[in-house]
């Protein structure tokens, strides 16, 4: 089967988008006031990589977080937000702070997964400093172990407003 015919046969893979979240109670003001654009720098603070898989799923063709204006970027200087996964281990404590400080203002912090939100299964471990919220101010929390791509996207959309 040739590439072109495959493209034609598969067609659109992305699931149709649900309506834009508008409830002001559980949305966050987009950091710059411009809706529909959010670039994220991801930091793995000590995750089991379960959350990473789900984030990758959220950016896959099926969930396609890009349609809501979200992109993952390489440099924190290009980012508006930090997406953090896992408990903050001692080794990743300082790098997490460094990354956050490298992101230009205004910025948001999104904690993905139970570990990042409250320590989850690893809370209180000897190598653990705490949850992400214990270390830096967190704006958006995505609980779940791991949260599903749909949940992650729903949370991201509360920030992009799209």
């Amino acid at each position: 089967m040739s590439w072109t015919s495959k493209i034609r046969r598969v067609g659109r893979m992305a699931e149709p988008a649900t309506p834009t979240p508008t409830n002001p109670a559980n949305t966050v003001e987009p950091p710059t006031g411009v809706t529909g654009s959010l670039q994220l720098r991801h930091v793995d603070c000590g995750s089991c990589n379960g959350c990473e898989l789900e984030i990758a799923g959220a950016f896959s063709a099926v969930y396609d977080a890009e349609q809501f204006g979200v992109r993952v970027v390489a440099s924190p200087r290009h980012a508006d937000g930090l997406i953090a996964t896992g408990v903050v281990t001692r080794n990743m404590h300082q790098p997490l702070l460094n990354t956050l400080n490298s992101i230009p203002q205004p910025r948001v912090v999104i904690a993905v997964g139970d570990c990042a939100v409250d320590g989850g299964a690893f809370a209180g471990g000897y190598a653990v400093v705490g949850s992400v919220a214990d270390v830096i101010p967190v704006d958006v929390r995505v609980p779940g172990c791991p949260p599903s791509p749909a949940e992650i996207i729903a949370a991201l959309r509360t920030v992009t407003g799209r």
Binding site: W3, I7, V10, G11, R12, M13, A14, A17, P30, T32, G33, V34, T35, G36, S37, Q39, A61, D64, E66, Q67, F68, G69, R71, V72, V73, A74, S75, R77, H78, D80, S102, P104, Q105, P106
Partner: protein, 323 residues
């Protein structure tokens, strides 16, 4: 040369404004084409504009230890590109700046922008900045011979390297466009434009991996408004080069040296369509290819150099005298 008529000035200004406004849309369109072919929904044509507006509202960060080179490079890249947009015959032939810079001058300005950005990459003093600069300048050095030879091949029929003359000669004598020389030059120029604008297979514009980056690696330290300028400029470069390519090889629809308002309108619509078609084709083509290993890129460029050399020789041997 062209009389400095009011309308040609209007056409030139329109050209610049259209490039400023349209370039992010072109990039958005390309991303959209790509997304659709990959089965995704995509961020929409307006996504680059949203990103730009957002970056312009973000804090400007100057990394410690950098100099004025780092601070000014984005403006130089954007400035050279704007100037090129004002020189090129996109909407009409009679840009008041056309006699001020011919195709060699335009190529020089393009490289001036590249050099500014590579110096900025070095100025940061980071490992990735230097790496990106080194790679970018290597590609630029190897692209230059092809570009100039392609210019040479194109200048043979019109007997001038000035853009208006080349485009006018091609429009007057369309048979020239399907000559072997012209076709070879087209392919050669297409390859160098891909290389210069950092598209696949030379560079992957959407990579997140620093070690595979070329263009992106140089601009890792830019934030906020400067980043916005860099991205805007790279979108404009792509747009302008696609427009140049379109009018060099499909010169129809362009308004004359002293255009009427209708002519300007037609010229504007036609060039927009041409650019969109070329951009769409480029984006669609990118779906099917992977990035080349960096040290395979010189082979590609050597190939394009050979094509350009053949183009010149062919245009010499098959030249149909215009006068």
């Amino acid at each position: 040369m062209s009389a400095m008529s009011v309308m040609s000035v209007v056409a030139t200004l329109l050209q610049v404004v259209a490039v400023l406004v349209g370039a992010p849309l072109v990039v958005g369109g390309m991303r959209q084409v790509r997304a659709r072919l990959e089965g995704r929904a995509g961020g929409g044509v307006g996504q680059p504009w949203r990103d730009l507006r957002k970056q312009l509202r973000k804090q400007q960060i100057t990394p410690l230890g950098t100099t004025v080179v780092f601070a000014l490079a984005p403006a130089v890249v954007a400035g050279t590109t704007l100037l090129i947009a004002a020189i090129l015959p996109l909407i009409s032939l009679g840009s008041p700046l056309d006699p001020a810079a011919d195709l060699f001058g335009v190529v020089g300005l393009l490289f001036l922008g590249t050099v500014a950005l590579t110096l900025a990459g070095l100025d940061t003093g980071t490992a990735f900045g230097g790496m990106g600069s080194s790679r970018e300048i290597t590609i630029a050095a190897l692209v230059e011979p092809t570009i100039l030879l392609a210019v040479f091949a194109l200048s043979v029929p019109g007997q001038s390297a000035n853009l208006a003359a080349i485009v006018a000669a091609a429009a007057d004598n369309p048979g020239q466009l399907v000559s072997p020389g012209s076709l070879l030059a087209f392919v050669a120029l297409a390859i160098v434009i891909i290389a210069e604008t950092g598209r696949l297979p030379v560079d992957n514009p959407s990579t997140h991996l620093e070690l595979t980056m070329i263009h992106e690696a140089m601009v890792l330290e830019y934030a906020g408004p400067r980043l916005a300028l860099v991205e805007w400029a790279s979108a404009m470069r792509l747009t302008v080069l696609l427009g140049l390519m379109a009018n060099l090889f499909l010169p129809w629809g362009i308004a004359g040296a002293d255009p009427s308002p209708l002519g300007i309108l037609i010229g504007f619509v036609v060039i927009s369509l041409k650019i969109l078609v070329l951009a769409g084709a480029l984006a669609a083509g990118e779906v099917f290819i992977a990035k080349l290993r960096y040290f395979r890129v010189p082979e590609l460029l050597a190939g394009s150099f050979l094509l350009a050399l053949l183009a010149v020789t062919a245009s010499y041997f098959f030249a149909t005298p215009t006068n």
